[in-house]
Symmetry: C2
Subunit: 306 residues, 2 copies
């Protein structure tokens, strides 16, 4: 079953792979080369879909220094249109809505083919951010401009640990048209389980259908990357940090850890019969990390029943 | 190897079972009967040791209403001396030090046989409690009165989640003579793993030996018992609470959950080569809950290499 149909009918087990577009400063010829290498690498994985992130600076997220400097990247919509036209599956394009003027976003939404593209609209990382459009306005715009375009939202299990209301946020987004949710990278299995469990029982008590929850995993090859994940708001349990810090091969330790966490979360979702997908994120430009992400996607593909 | 020798030499994999003494209001004849039934039930388990809790009111712990009323119990030292004289293994007697005058505690400590009894000294649940003796004073008293008596302390992984310093508290207690630590009931696997991991790496960096960490597990047959655990300061993740609330058989769900958590923690400790023990706690007076605790101890016994 095609990914879009599967999501629209609330069916799980699918595999996605998420990329950031090349840096804005990349030479045009090199962009094409990166696209070709990437698609050649991903094609054998049998992915159900691709995710393209929309990177925002998010300096307002956190007063602490950003562990990696912010590098603007190509617009994911442009990257898709110009360089990934031959990619065979549906593509989910993120839109950091605060970056766009309403007319700009409306133009893009209107032009999309709902049989090929889905979108995840992302609100500002902080309520203090100067934004050009709110998430609610962007959601309304999608309904007006292209109601057939399948809409997703972000889910943040970490927020659930602190406020215990992430499932209610999801239900509100569902009412605004979201048909699936994608998490940040999952390191805190406990938070993810509690979030799934509360979402499941709340849907059941309201008689509302459960939409697919897509859990994101990635590998982390260095303590600096881990610090960056923390800066982005990901809760990394101390024992995982210690494991990576003291591992002879942190990348391999991280790969094993991600595989174990994903495996346990898959079993948990199945036990509750919650539809789910897996997203493997590769945001590093280091070749060994990219290859480990591909290996992770292969290993998780083998576990999914689709 | 005898439990005391094993603890003194820092060797793990042992199994304990923890009981509260009968209520103070119990008829003397009935106390003997309870002791006989209990020991008959526990004898086939091949336990390495028994723990006797010292129950304090702890009303100052929590301004919220105690889910179960406080019922004073027999003094664990009296229960041991009067009714468990035929029990074959070493016994760990808890002492809630705030309850005793120094001379009272000194008398008891002096009279103990270090080849048969160990003690865990427990400080007040809250710094606001009116106590007759501090934990530090009680630890000093043990050194003076009976230095050969093996001393343990309590460990609270939940506190580690909030303050990230429980491993440092343990190291301070180790300097005060503690040779093992016993946790509260473990429901939050993540907190327990982070606590073990930080303890392990801190000991390694200081060149201090790691002493056995004893992890406590129990079954929970009702939402009221769960509420009581929360009142006592145990972090029960939302997903576990949901599982129990919606289970056809909450006691069986709790049994499976405890077994899975213990199994994962055993593997984690072995991977770090941290010496550990398992303690199964039975504090309910309901027969089905007692029987499920015994079943849990049997299942965990089978996993230990001792």
């Amino acid at each position: 079953m095609n990914l879009i149909r599967r999501i629209e009918t609330g069916h799980g087990e699918f595999l996605l792979f998420a990329l950031t577009p090349p840096r804005l400063a990349t030479e045009p010829g090199q962009v094409r080369e990166i696209a070709d290498v990437t698609t050649a690498r991903l094609r054998p994985l049998g992915l159900d879909g691709l995710i393209l992130y929309d990177i925002a600076d998010e300096a307002e997220r956190n007063p602490a220094e950003r562990p990696f400097p912010f590098m603007p990247t190509l617009d994911p919509a442009d990257y898709l249109a110009d360089h990934l036209d031959a990619w065979p599956t549906p593509v989910i394009v993120y839109r950091a809505v605060g970056k766009y003027a309403p007319e700009e976003l409306r133009g893009w939404l209107t032009a999309q083919d709902p049989a090929r593209v889905m979108t995840v609209l992302v609100g500002a990382a902080s309520s203090a951010a100067a934004t050009r459009m709110s998430l609610a306005d962007a959601q309304a715009l999608r309904r007006e401009a292209n109601a057939a375009l399948t809409l997703g939202g972000v889910a943040i299990p970490e927020r659930h640990s602190r406020r215990e209301d992430e499932h209610l946020r999801l239900l509100a987004k569902q009412e605004s048209g979201c048909r699936f949710f994608v998490t940040q990278v999952v390191y805190d299995l406990n938070a993810a389980k509690s979030f799934v469990s509360d979402y499941h029982y709340e849907c059941r008590s309201r008689g509302v259908p459960r939409v697919p929850l897509v859990f994101t995993f990635s590998v982390c090859g260095s303590m600096k990357t881990l610090a960056f994940l923390r800066w982005l708001g990901v809760d990394v349990p101390r024992w995982i940090e210690n494991d990576l810090r003291h591992a002879a091969d942190p990348l391999e330790a991280s790969y094993q850890q991600a595989l174990a966490t994903a495996t346990e979360l898959i079993a948990f979702c199945r036990a509750l019969d919650v539809p789910f997908g897996i997203n493997v994120e590769s945001v590093s430009i280091r070749r060994v990390e990219i290859e480990a992400s591909v290996r992770l996607a292969e290993a998780l593909r083998a576990q999914l029943r689709s």
